[in-house]
């Protein structure tokens, strides 16, 4: 039974929950508001909501170009890191694997180091090799950053697969490749999809690392950062709302898949 004191505690914690949700969602609401209500003398005019800003999106050519860049970087980083993560996961799942701790350390390192350090170290390294900053260097940075996520999900799944599943497949006549194709890969599908979705959303929003690694042609967050001093116009807010909206849809999908497959980090 719940005692009165406990009920009070729950009510209090519930209030805190509500307060926190308001504060953390406030930026999104502000942005949404500023995209709908035109500014009149520095104040939003709440009496005349309009979607005009959304129709004027085409004016922000450089931002749209940045969105395309971000999508390119996100997809490239996600796909490359996913392939690496699966290969590494499969390799480390074998009894004969060498350098287990070494591999895990260098994969997780960029995820636990502050991004400013990962970014500066890569910047220093690439300039030492006389490699110019471009979208390619951004992709490299994002690959090493997000590989940890898919690797973690894939290797957790592999570790939970009973050895008898591999043995049963071989026992029933399957070759090594057939076992991978028909038994292991289907098992990895869910963690792979979730890992790639999370990787994409992280890459899409990455700012701290990208700032060091990108040249003049850059991704959306860095381009937006440059616009902050002058302030966001309603059409920038409109674009941002659309971008965040799609990111949230991806996050929702990933969460739904994780829940359905009882996945954990």
């Amino acid at each position: 039974m719940t005692s009165p004191l406990e009920k009070l505690a729950i009510a209090f914690a519930g209030l805190m929950f509500g307060f926190v949700v308001i504060v953390t969602f406030a930026p999104m609401l502000v942005t949404l508001g500023l995209s709908i209500f035109p500014l009149q003398g520095g104040r939003p005019d709440f009496s005349a909501p309009s979607l005009a800003a959304y129709q004027a999106l085409g004016n922000q050519r450089d931002l749209i170009e940045a969105v395309v860049n971000s999508i390119f970087v996100g997809l490239a980083a996600t796909i490359i890191s996913a392939v690496l993560a699966v290969l590494t996961g499969l390799y480390l799942d074998k009894a004969y694997a060498i350098g287990r701790t070494f591999l895990q350390t260098i994969i997780y390192l960029p995820f636990v180091m502050p991004p400013i350090i990962t970014g500066l170290a890569l910047l220093l390294f690439l300039s030492g090799l006389n490699i110019d900053r471009s979208l390619v260097t951004v992709v490299i940075g994002h690959v090493v950053l997000v590989e940890a996520i898919t690797f973690r999900l894939v290797s957790t799944r592999l570790g939970n697969l009973p050895l008898s599943l591999y043995e049963a497949s071989a026992d029933l006549g399957a070759s090594g490749w057939q076992t991978f194709r028909h038994v292991i890969l289907p098992q990895l599908l869910a963690p792979l999809v979730v890992g790639m979705m999370l990787s994409f959303t992280i890459s899409f929003d990455e700012t701290l690392l990208t700032l060091f690694l990108s040249g003049s042609n850059t991704t959306l967050p860095v381009r937006l950062l440059g616009k902050m001093r002058v302030g966001f116009t309603p059409d920038i807010n409109a674009l941002v709302v659309l971008v965040i909206g799609s990111t949230i849809v991806i996050a929702l999908l990933a969460a739904a898949i994780m829940r359905k497959n009882a996945m954990r980090f």
Partner: protein
């Protein structure tokens, strides 16, 4: 069974990318922190002068200590709100738990830069907070003090990194078997005593992990202080950044970076210790 040659080539295949783009840069970075700068050129020698400079000049270590204080403040605010919120979600009926957790996590997927901009428009002179307070007659005229202050940094970072506090605490609570709380009340403990004697101690690894996550995020974030802190935003991250961007003293910046990483490593090590002590 595989022969040694293919085993090693497989290892090289999977280790190549992280070795070249994580390990080598990190080694180069650490090596740089021991180099010297003469006439604007980096000289690859071995010197501790960069570290000595950090310790000797108050403008460096002073900012560092100040920044640690700021990060601690952010972490503690997150904990004060995060623990009750995580506990509240945990006490919800099972089918509501994960959706509600998701609501708390969701802001992570909202653009970092947009959050910064939004906080600027909320806290600014013409911002929503001022308008709200003036409209409700709590203050006479808009206050400049909200934006470009230390408090603005703390508030913005706390709200941005809050999910990193709730997530580990909640996952830790989830791991406490119901039989333990039931046994506690069976043995005569009140709800409060059960929380204090059973739930809270078993949640400590999650609490420590959350504190460290938030602390490291805050320590590594060099953009927020600048954007919402103004003059107060001269944090250690900015100091590191300016060695690379402004003064072009890379070895000095690298040594600062190493100091930063060592602090983070010590903290991550602490998390490892606490979570190993208490396995449920």
């Amino acid at each position: 069974m595989m022969n040694p040659v293919s085993r090693i080539s497989l290892f090289v295949l999977v280790a190549l990318v992280p070795s070249v783009f994580v390990l080598l840069p990190t080694i180069a970075f650490v090596a740089n922190s021991f180099f010297a700068v003469e006439n604007g050129q980096i000289v690859p020698t071995f010197t501790l002068s960069n570290y000595a400079a950090f310790l000797q000049q108050p403008e460096y270590w002073g900012v560092f200590v100040n920044t640690l204080g700021l990060c601690l403040q952010v972490s503690i605010i997150c904990l004060v709100f995060g623990l009750p919120v995580a506990w509240f979600i945990w006490r919800l009926p099972e089918r509501n738990r994960y959706p509600m957790l998701f609501v708390v996590i969701l802001p992570l997927f909202m653009s970092y830069v947009v959050k910064l901009f939004a906080f600027r428009s909320i806290l600014g002179l013409n911002g929503f907070l001022n308008q709200l307070l003036v409209a409700s007659h709590l203050i006479d005229k808009p206050q400049m003090a909200f934006l470009f202050s230390r408090d603005a940094i703390v508030l913005t970072q706390a709200s941005m990194f809050f999910p990193y506090m709730v997530l580990p605490i909640f996952l830790n609570l989830e791991r406490i078997p119901h039989s333990l709380t039931q046994a506690s009340s069976d043995l005569g403990a009140s709800a409060g005593m059960t929380f204090r004697e059973v739930v809270l101690p078993l949640t400590m690894p999650g609490v420590v992990a959350g504190l460290v996550f938030v602390f490291i995020m805050s320590l590594g974030d060099y953009i927020t202080p600048q954007m919402v802190g103004g003059m107060m935003g001269h944090t250690f991250g900015r100091v590191v950044w300016s060695q690379f961007g402004v003064t072009f003293n890379w070895p000095l910046g690298a040594s600062f970076g190493v100091v930063l990483v060592l602090v983070c490593a010590a903290l991550v090590g602490a998390v490892g210790m606490t979570s190993r002590q208490q396995r449920i």
